[in-house]
């Protein structure tokens, strides 16, 4: 099925903070906008909320919900649509290829959406590290525990351990404790300074971060810097974890065992850049080595007609994402206006964007960089693995098979993948890509995925045999 009588002025992929702000600011400037998201509701990760109130206590959520209402009157919202590819048409337009599964049981079906411009606002996902037992049921990513709570009103467990690195551990632990879980500890592998001198508090000077700290104190949740979960234990579900004290490089100093039913773990985030990489957008290294989409002052990628905002341009949280989305929407609207007026030279330079927004974005971007530098992943974690520890969960590849591949001459992550198959399963390396690169002694490469979501052959065949998208809604 192809939407549209005419091509959209702007197609936005991602309905979180960045995508909604971008779509709304462009639509308010008169652009015809379509926004595509895989979820059943707008919100992305941060503004995730249940179908039925009460909504979670999420800072900024009321305003976001108002934005989505305004947007639904001004733009086409395609929810429950998973984008698997974006292609460039001969005339320069972009076609976004999606699949959707209607609730009537008729199965998956392809949808194409065409636009003159594209805004990539695809967010990020957790970056877990492997350790013995990390595939036991009951071990969740920190974002997974948060999604259960925010989107479904489900508390992930009764006795919960939170472990990893980064400021995100604080809201996850605070949310679980406030919802009634007994949070046995927050194990921050970095730090060494304690919560009172936590970089978030030092850099942000209170606000949201202070409220998490207060909440943890109120629920008597211990915050333990320079500690980590080294191993998870249990038969067919999690029963206990081994917690270790670490030195500054994450080598183990001592261990103890903690009985628990749930572990929420995350070591930062992986920005979702695959659609941008597919289109040929330039990437750069973020402060933590992650490949992110390179954008200019106007949120333009290196590919004409393609903007990016939020985490794919560097992890920085919802406030920065929203700001970048707004700027991208305004820049896209300017581009459309100048294109209509036939002013190609002015279009190249772009009209001035609101100075106050630009300055605020640059300030927040610098803050985001400082945070990433405060929470690095240190090599010591590689010593936590045993020979039989799965590195790739999908293809069940243990560390020993990676080492065999290296002994056979696979010196880089790509050769290791071809020989030992980590990253060749369902998730396409989204989970194990980072640790495999680390174990190969490399920084992670930009993800190359010709098809970024699984698609049935029937839907693929239907998409390929479809008429060029000109008619429509058919």
């Amino acid at each position: 099925m192809t939407y549209d009588l005419m091509t959209y002025d702007l197609v936005v992929i991602g309905g979180g903070a960045a995508g909604v702000a971008g779509a709304l600011s462009a639509a308010q400037r008169g652009l015809r906008v379509a926004l595509i998201d895989s979820g059943a509701r707008l919100g992305g990760q941060y503004f995730r909320h249940p179908a039925v109130p009460p909504h979670p206590a999420t800072s900024g959520l009321d305003r976001f919900v108002r934005q989505t209402r305004a947007l639904s009157e001004r733009a086409e919202l395609l929810l429950g649509h998973q984008v698997w590819s974006v292609s460039r048409e001969p005339g320069g337009d972009l076609t976004v290829h999606c699949v959707t599964t209607p609730g009537d049981g008729s199965g998956e079906r392809p949808v194409e959406v065409r636009g003159r411009r594209l805004l990539l606002a695809t967010g990020a996902h957790d970056r877990p590290l492997p350790f013995p037992g990390w595939d036991l049921p009951g071990v969740l990513t920190a974002g997974g525990a948060q999604a259960l709570l925010k989107g479904n009103g489900v508390v992930a467990g009764q006795r919960v351990v939170v472990a990893g690195t980064g400021p995100f551990l604080l809201p996850v632990a605070a949310g679980l404790a406030a919802a009634g879980a007994r949070v046995l500890g927050v194990h921050e592998a970095n730090g060494g300074l304690g919560l009172a001198r936590h970089p978030v508090l030092a850099l942000a000077k209170a606000g949201e971060a202070a409220s998490y700290a207060l909440s943890l104190a109120r629920h008597r949740v211990p915050y333990r810097p320079r500690t980590a979960v080294l191993a998870a234990h249990g038969g067919d579900r999690l029963e206990a974890v081994t917690v270790a004290r670490l030195d500054r490089d994450w080598n183990v100093l001592s261990t103890r065992r903690v009985a628990c039913d749930t572990l929420a773990t995350g070591y930062g985030f992986t920005p979702q850049t695959d659609l941008g990489v597919q289109l040929g957008c330039d990437t750069r290294r973020d402060a933590d080595g992650s490949p992110v989409l390179a954008v200019d002052d106007r949120q333009r990628t290196g590919v004409p007609g393609v903007w990016a905002a939020g985490e794919p341009t560097g992890v920085g949280g919802w406030r920065l994402a929203e700001l970048e989305g707004r700027l991208a929407g305004l820049a896209a609207a300017d581009d459309a206006g100048l294109a209509a007026a036939g002013e190609s030279a002015a279009r190249e330079a772009g009209a001035a964007l609101p100075e106050v927004l630009v300055r605020r974005r640059d300030r927040m971007r610098a803050f985001a960089r400082a945070l990433l530098e405060a929470y690095p992943v240190k090599d010591g974690w590689q010593g936590w693995l045993r020979d039989d520890t799965l590195v790739c969960r999908c293809e069940e590849v243990p560390l020993s098979r990676l080492r065999e591949a290296q002994d056979l001459g696979a010196t880089d992550a790509r050769s290791i993948k071809l020989l030992a198959r980590p990253g060749m399963g369902w998730c396409q390396g989204r989970i194990c890509g980072y640790p495999v690169a680390c174990l190969a002694g490399e920084e992670p490469a930009p993800p190359r995925r010709p098809v970024v979501q699984p698609i049935t052959l029937a839907a693929l065949a239907e998409d390929l045999s479809a008429e060029p998208p000109t008619g429509g809604p058919s």
């Binding site: 179908a51 999604a147 259960l148 009103g153 489900v154 992930a156 579900r237 369902w426 998730c427």
Partner: protein, 80 residues
């Protein structure tokens, strides 16, 4: 205001809007499939549609991600 789904015939309560994965997890069901090679139990992990650990068979259809799939009254989840 809840409805029911089943897992291998056993009833599981659902609050409208919950995903299959969330409803099963809330009911204390932590895994609903085993892996191809090691036969290891798997349930929710990333919770946001990225890792594919939580693949589930509902109403006999091909496997879908339980963390994304919204539960509907009477859905039948089968394991093994």
């Amino acid at each position: 205001m809840t409805f029911q789904i089943t897992i291998d015939g056993r009833p599981v309560p659902v609050t409208p809007g919950q995903t299959i994965g969330a409803a099963l997890h809330a009911a204390g069901v932590r895994s609903w499939r085993t892996t191809r090679f090691g036969g290891r139990p798997r349930g929710l992990f990333c919770g946001i549609g990225v890792c594919f650990d939580c693949l589930v068979t509902v109403n006999g259809r091909p496997p879908e991600r339980a963390c994304l799939l919204e539960a509907r009254p009477g859905d039948e989840v089968t394991t093994s």
